[in-house]
Amino acid sequence: MNHDTYDDSYIREILNGVKTIAMVGASPVNVRPSYFAFKYLAQRGYDMIPVNPGQVGKSLVGKPFVASLRDIDRPIDMVDIFRNSEAALPLVEEALALNPLPKVIWMQLGVRNDEAAAKAEAAGLKVVMNRCPKIEYGRLSSEISWMGVNSRTLSSKRAPVPTQGMRLSLNRVSVGGGGTNAADRAARNKNDPA
């Protein structure tokens, strides 16, 4: 599978389908991107679990930290990796030892590990790399568009007023599909700096 660009339908299906998300590398420091991505997803109704061995005993927006994926007391649908790219392989191996298996491995913006992705896909998991679930959720629901971001979606339905804990509709008409010329060029530029 091509991991340079994703169809909106692929991302949409994942974000509509998962409920429980373990975020590995979540930080309790309220100015770190992992903190505000965690908080946003919790506010949008996901069952969020912060995973960070250095923070056990503390909690993040009311959710207690656990040391590792193994320590989670319930099935998880998605593992969101907020670590560096090298850390992704052992984390995927740990995720693949869980029973039941998670359905999705998601690596954050800037995180990409093709070997880890191939392992997860071979076990039947879906993989997203180098994306932020907060940005993708905000984009597909068009909540993000206050920033002038191209949501690549359209809708003629009245927009909801988002409230605490509310899941927003991600099922708008998709425009870009994900595979735009510009996105392909961005991926090429990254893989093959001039």
């Binding site: 100015v31 905000g138 206050w146 920033m147 002038g148 359209l154 007023v161 961005a186």
Partner: protein, 426 residues
């Protein structure tokens, strides 16, 4: 399963807009307010820290402006956009995000006269140094590259000379130099040319012109293509280094492929301050809904007028790239196949005096300093828009003393031609 892609006209009407959440209003409301209430202290803090999506204060963003931003980003095929008070503001905010004092950028000589002025004089006072190159001689761009070069700037269709720029060739030079290509797409609009598809990394607009299209609102837009890696060699510290005022977040790390648009908003717009009025955003948005229809008619009328002028005995030359035999005709066919725009120049056999007479004899054309209106417009650039340039620079910018510039409007083409006919006879 692949998503279906709506066409350009659908995007021009729908992108970014959605019925209002509280009233159900279908047209985009004009959110004429300076500020927006917070839910609580935590909400306010997360908005100020760039941690949550939401509105704070209209200098930083406004829901009406946001619709315009998303619409232009969608039409250009970019990841995000920022609306600002004018085309010139778009240029200042863009370069402020890229350049440190002492840095250079390369610009084509074939530019709107106001941009030549802005780059030559005002930018110099910021320590930003323009190095000129010639869009008709691509090698001049390559030779202008230095270790201090931070960007390359061109117009897609250039004002006023009617030249067409070889965007792909210049994009290859930008890529080799490791700098972004900025394209001012004002005269083409995304209906005719989408520079991002040809290698642009940033697209700018004076929305004052064809986007708004009705000569009633000044505005500008910056579009982020999402194609440039700002952190590769730390040449763009505003994007790659921690921002002290935002708790040390790094903009590219946090915002990925729309970090440039965010940088322009949360630094340039916040601190330089050229916010667009929501009312103007509304007017420009309304204009964009008919952009594809208008732009095609502009081009069709312009071609008819250019053909008529080129057969007129008083006319020495017509510089319209849509005419066969024009030196830019091949580039126009490649980059702008639906039409070569509506702004072009011509010269009269009677020289400067005949040009001045023509302008004063016209009855339907308005004599004013703008382009991209529903109305047909005329000006003598050498004595107006380009008057601050040296004679040599005027000629190089396509605005020599014998040149008359027109922006062909949406009137019946027979009436436009009849007005020129009577004025040339008078």
């Amino acid at each position: 399963m692949t998503d279906r892609l709506p066409g350009f006209a659908t995007l021009a009407i729908h992108a970014g807009a959605q019925p209002d959440p509280t009233t159900g209003a279908r047209a985009t409301p004009i959110y004429q307010t300076t500020s927006f209430v917070f839910n609580d202290a935590d909400h306010a803090a997360s908005l100020f820290g760039l941690q949550a999506f939401g509105n704070i204060y209209t200098r930083l963003g406004n829901p009406t402006n946001a619709v315009l931003e998303e619409r232009v980003a969608a039409l250009e095929g970019g990841t995000a956009a920022l609306a600002v008070a004018s085309g010139h503001a778009a240029q200042v905010v863009t370069f402020q995000a890229l350049l440190q004092p002492g840095d250079e950028f390369i610009a084509a000589r074939q530019l709107y006269g106001g941009s030549i002025n802005q780059f030559t004089h005002t930018f110099k006072s910021f320590g930003w140094n323009v190095v000129w190159a010639d869009a008709d001689d691509i090698a001049t761009f390559e030779r202008a590259v230095s270790p201090r070069t931070k960007a390359i700037f061109i117009e897609s269709l250039a004002n006023p000379g009617g030249s067409v720029t070889d965007i792909e060739a210049i994009s290859a030079i930008a890529r080799k130099a490791g700098v972004p290509l900025i394209v001012d797409n004002t005269l083409a609009s995304p209906y005719l040319i989408r520079p991002i598809d040809h290698g642009a990394d940033i697209v700018l607009h004076s929305a004052t012109k064809f986007l708004g299209g009705h000569g009633n609102s000044i505005g500008g837009v910056i579009v982020d293509a999402g194609t440039f890696d700002w952190s590769r060699d730390n040449k763009y510290p505003i994007l790659s280094e921690p921002r002290p005022e935002y708790h040390g977040i790094k903009l590219q790390e946090t915002f990925g492929n729309f970090a440039f648009a965010i940088a322009c908003r949360v630094i340039g717009l916040r601190d330089l301050g050229p916010a667009l009025s929501p009312f103007n955003a509304f007017m420009i948005l309304t204009g964009i809904e008919t952009l594809p229809l208008r732009m095609q008619r502009h081009c069709d009328n312009a071609k008819a007028v250019a053909e008529w002028l080129s057969n007129h005995p008083a006319v020495a030359a017509v510089n319209y790239s849509g005419l066969p035999g024009n030196r830019y005709n091949n580039l126009a066919r490649k980059y702008s196949p639906k039409g070569a725009g509506a702004v072009f120049t011509f010269s009269l056999k009677g020289g400067y005096d005949a040009g001045v007479d023509l302008v004063s004899n016209l009855k339907l054309f308005s004599h004013l300093a703008n382009v991209g209106d529903t109305r047909s417009l005329v000006i003598h650039p050498a004595s107006t828009t380009h008057s601050q340039l040296t004679d040599d620079a005027k000629t190089k910018a396509g605005a020599g003393p014998d040149i008359v510039r027109v922006s062909i409007g949406l009137e019946d083409k027979e009436d436009i031609i009849a007005d020129l006919d009577q004025a040339l006879r008078a």
